[in-house]
């Protein structure tokens, strides 16, 4: 009943007012979709849309990882490097012990890495951004060390399942990513742990005074963030059917871009998984569009960097108040 009246109210409003209430990122997504449909041939096909979903699924997971770090009031600069490390570990272990064991080994070892990073962040008050800046070369070096700089191939045939198979026309990877995102969202919004996690990110002192073990939750936030980055890495690895130490570094920046473009505020402890997913779709659609018009990888790198700077610039112009610094 309430929903009905809500819809009726919306219909009664002027279109301008409706537009103002809608999340601008939704408009951007729809606008981009129409734009690409008009200007890029082959964009409006079912196959391309399924491909789009497959591409988006990896970024959704990485961006969820980034969202967690943003909820903790920091950033995770090492999302891409951790994903790469996970892909290398998973592929290496899968060659030896089979697919499931490979995924398990990768998740477990990254869990240890993430927990120790989280521990350092929470207990020794190392700034999360600086801790992940340190984690980046560590993960990168480990990935190169394990794979010796070569692509890890020879994985079992089941390894490709997660990243490459379809149920009907729908790719498995997007179902997996959405499932993970929904679980994360439920965890954050419907469990006491999730609410406490939010509380710690919003105001650490208030959380402490109200009896939340802030350190534990800070540790959990960043551990989870790093583990989710590893899940993204495993999906990537399954998609390309190998582990490569040279792949996936731009994922850190893409995930930050996705979080920002979806409408989340950085350094505020606020954020929603749904907005992040929206952002991930926008970024994926952009890069898909660039694929369509054959933009080279280097130019895409330039564009990605510029887009992030531009995005942050636009986002800050809206809320910037005149006067004092900060």
């Amino acid at each position: 009943m309430r929903m009905m009246s809500g819809i009726l109210n919306t219909l009664r409003e002027r279109p301008k007012d409706v537009l103002r209430r809608v999340n601008p990122s939704v408009l951007l997504l729809v606008g981009l979709w129409i734009f690409l449909g008009i200007f890029a041939t082959r964009f409006f096909t079912l196959g391309n849309h399924m491909n789009l979903l497959r591409q988006a699924s990896i970024l959704i997971l990485a961006a969820c990882a980034q969202t967690l770090a943003v909820l903790g009031g920091g950033l995770n600069i090492a999302v891409g490097a951790v994903a790469t490390l996970a892909s290398v570990i998973a592929a290496t272990a899968a060659v030896q012990f089979g697919t499931l064991a490979g995924f398990g080994v990768a998740l477990f070892s990254i869990l240890l890495l993430g927990a120790s990073t989280g521990f350092v962040i929470a207990w020794f008050r190392v700034d999360p951004i600086i801790a992940t800046i340190g984690l980046l070369p560590i993960a990168r070096g480990l990935a190169f060390l394990i794979s010796n700089g070569q692509p890890v191939t020879g994985t079992p045939s089941t390894y490709r399942f997660l990243g490459n198979f379809f149920i009907g026309p729908v790719p498995v990877s997007i179902l997996f990513a959405i499932l993970a995102a929904v679980l994360l969202s439920l965890f954050l919004n419907r469990t006491i742990w999730g609410r406490k996690l939010y509380a710690c990110g919003l105001d650490e002192e208030a959380a402490r005074v109200s009896g939340i073990q802030v350190r534990l939750y800070r540790m959990m936030t960043y551990t989870l963030s790093i583990v989710l980055a590893a899940v993204a890495g495993i999906l990537l690895s399954s998609r390309i059917n190998s582990g490569q130490a040279t792949l996936g570094y731009e994922m850190s920046l893409e995930s930050i871009a996705a979080v920002v473009i979806g409408g989340n505020k950085l350094f505020s402890g606020e954020g929603k998984v749904s907005k992040t997913i929206l952002g991930a779709f926008i970024i994926t659609m952009l890069s898909n569009g660039m694929d369509m018009v054959h933009v080279s990888a280097y130019v895409r790198q330039i564009l990605l960097g510029s887009i992030v700077i531009l995005l942050v610039l636009l986002a800050s112009r809206k809320k910037r108040s005149a006067g004092c610094a900060n």
Partner: protein
């Protein structure tokens, strides 16, 4: 003697901890591998240190202002390419001037976005890192531009003035200039004020914006100098000349005790940090450790340097919530035997 009246003594005192670490590391390495103490090797360490130290100074200035510069690696790359492209057409000195100006300009853009438009430094410089890396690769297709044909260019990296390597002279001159700037000028004092508390600095009428932008311009310029010296050493322009420069510089600054959250640290600490990193990497080289492990070491150094710094600042009790005095082992005297 009043230590406050002698900034140099004050700075030396602040750097003493990390200097002790450096000495300890040197002793450890000379025990592990006697080759470490050979004059050739020490000269080599010194030469490498005098190149990286410039980038560390740049990073230190930015860190003192409370920000960070992650874009150094690709800035160095693009400066190197610009230098090579100019050098194939123009004489040496105008080319170097153009290259340095480009470095300063990139720093200016960073500074403008961060201090004028108040954007988060991590994201801006990270975006810049990616964008410039792409640009560098696009121009050269990731292949080096050979500069063997340019006569006399190798002087900057490999030349000597008497017995002293040219890079060392460049490093010493930059140290003297930058130390004067940070300690004895309004810019320097404002830089520390901005780093400690930007709002307070603004409210007390300091020109936060100009100071911050200048810090980034200086950082860009210093990365430019580093890049020129590095290019001169390998006689070519390369987009991936120092891909991890920013991370190495942060590690060195952290190791020297420059605070990563602003307002703390001085150039002597930065120097000690840079030398320590060079010694560490040289030691790892001598012990036949691969570059991959060196990368990992760099990351670990960042985390542990900050961790130790925090320990020093807050104390173990405040950090871990464990009151060591309650643990029997640490209590002075044996509580069981008290009368």
């Amino acid at each position: 003697m009043n230590i406050k009246k002698w900034p140099l003594l004050h700075e030396l005192k602040a750097a003493s901890g990390s200097f002790g670490l450096l000495i300890g590391l040197c002793i450890l390495l000379s025990v592990l591998d006697p080759r470490f103490l050979k004059p050739d090797n020490l000269l080599n360490v010194l030469r490498i240190a005098s190149i990286t130290v410039l980038a560390v100074y740049g990073q230190a200035l930015v860190l003192i202002s409370g920000k960070i510069d992650l874009s150094m690696g690709s800035t160095a790359g693009i400066v190197s390419i610009a230098l090579a492209l100019c050098m194939l057409r123009f004489p040496i000195f105008p080319s170097i001037l153009i290259a340095l100006l480009l470095g300063a300009f990139i720093g200016f853009v960073n500074g403008l976005l961060i201090f004028r438009y108040r954007l988060p430094a991590f994201i801006i410089t990270f975006g810049m890192l990616t964008a410039l890396d792409g640009a560098g690769n696009l121009i050269t297709n990731n292949a080096p531009i050979e500069l063997i044909s340019v006569k006399g260019f190798g002087v900057f990296g490999g030349g000597f003035l008497g017995p002293i390597p040219i890079p060392l002279i460049i490093a010493v001159v930059s140290f003297l200039v930058l130390r004067f700037l940070t300690v004895h000028t309004v810019f320097g004092r404002t830089l520390y004020a901005v780093g400690s508390n930007e709002t307070a600095a603004f409210l007390s009428g300091r020109n936060v914006r100009r100071t911050g932008i200048l810090a980034y311009v200086l950082a860009g310029l210093l990365v430019g100098v580093t890049s020129v010296v590095m290019s001169s050493r390998i006689y070519s322009g390369l987009s991936s000349i120092a891909p991890n420069l920013a991370f190495d510089a942060i590690a060195a600054a952290a190791l020297g005790g420059v605070g990563l959250l602003g307002g703390k640290g001085n150039l002597i600490q930065a120097t000690v940090g840079a030398v320590t990193i060079s010694v560490l990497l040289n030691g790892l080289n001598l012990l036949n450790v691969t570059t991959y492990v060196q990368m990992i070491t760099g990351g670990l150094v960042i985390v542990f340097a900050v961790l130790l710094n925090n320990l020093q600042e807050y104390g173990l009790k405040a950090l871990t919530g464990v009151d060591l005095k309650k643990i029997r082992f640490f209590r002075k005297g044996n509580p069981g035997c008290e009368e």
